[in-house]
Subunit: 222 residues, 2 copies
């Protein structure tokens, strides 16, 4: 692994942001954080830039780094794009997925089911992540896979909240199986359509997300 201070600082700050340690619009104090982490400003500023590139921070010239939580509208917009990207992955995967990839996807589905049976939310969450990443890879388009993973990561905190919603885990599970089935019979359109719905925010899921978002927003201002 990398021994760079800047990288580990980046990860720590990212974790803090995602956890909700900072209020929206809050300015991150370079010297204070540097002191807190026991490092100089140099690697810290590097981390800031990296985080800004990921969209977690906004850098204003001569003003500093500011927390930029997406507002609800932007969040919905992001999920909308994610839905389309996942659909594209699914569409392509139905044609390009290899046997070993299908096996791997099958394994994660089994693991998801086991996790649900045991009520192990965290485990389900991890396997869910794996399922999606395998799907991205299976698209056969490595650039697409990278972009999908990037956006997926960016939406992580919000998806997590969303998944906790009532009955969402089982529903999600069913959709995974449907995708798997579509891939098995090389049905591009079905795979795409299922994934689009799987990710898209609509109907009651809209309300679920909104509730989660408010929860997070409340956390923030505390």
């Amino acid at each position: 692994m990398s021994t760079r201070i800047a990288d580990s600082v980046r990860e720590r700050i990212e974790q803090m942001i995602v956890t909700g340690d900072f209020a929206d619009g809050e300015r991150l104090d370079e010297v204070k954080l540097a002191e807190q982490f026991g490092v100089s400003r140099t690697p810290l500023r590097e981390a800031f830039q990296s985080l800004a590139a990921s969209g977690l921070l906004t850098l204003k010239a001569h003003r500093g780094a500011f927390i930029r939580h997406p507002d609800f509208v932007e969040l919905v917009e992001m999920f909308e794009v994610m839905a389309e990207i996942e659909a594209m992955c699914g569409f392509r995967a139905a044609r390009h997925v290899t046997e070993s990839q299908m096996t791997a996807i099958g394994v994660t589905i089994e693991a998801c089911e086991a996790a649900i049976a045991e009520g192990d939310f965290d485990e389900y969450y991890r396997e869910n992540e794996t399922f999606h990443h395998l799907l991205y890879e299976a698209s056969g388009n490595r650039f697409l896979a990278r972009e999908a993973a990037r956006l997926h990561k960016r939406l992580k905190p919000y998806r997590r909240l969303q998944l906790r919603a009532n009955g969402r885990m089982l529903q999600s599970m069913r959709e995974h199986r449907a995708v798997f089935a579509a891939l098995k019979r090389s049905d591009s359109k079905a795979a795409a359509a299922t994934l689009r719905l799987h990710v898209a925010i609509q109907g009651e899921r809209f309300n679920d997300l909104m509730a989660s978002y408010r929860q997070l927003a409340a956390l923030k201002t505390g």
Copy 2:
């Protein structure tokens, strides 16, 4: 405008990369470039990070910044994703585009035609850029618009070469008009399909791009 040295350095290096001043895999020497630009290593390293985030450079820990031109496969993959993103923009724009946006798009199309009539390639190119950016905005999804613009920018050097191909300008022009017409009658599917084909690389355009790519590759090793 920003008075930050790091930003202007970033732009200059980006320009150099896009122009093809560096060979693929080449390492960018911090001290040499810093000297060349008359700045210290600090803003230069900032620029490196920013460029790495954009995918133009690869940073290897304790090794430095390396030029990372996409290979031909990756290039095709990127255009494939771009096609889908543009299609999504078009699909949504057909429903969300405002009157003033339609007017603006109409203006760029006129300007494109005028440029073709005068054989002014650069002018056509600029108006073509505008057309696409207006389309992104018209999608009504600001996150999507940003992502589309990002990828569009990334593909800039390759698209430019591609456009020079024989008869491509007129063909492109026709497609723009078709998109405009589809938007006018709120035909989401037609707008999406037209744009997908407009951007996608297929048939003879595949060969055009490959030829351009080889040209660029030849430049690089020089």
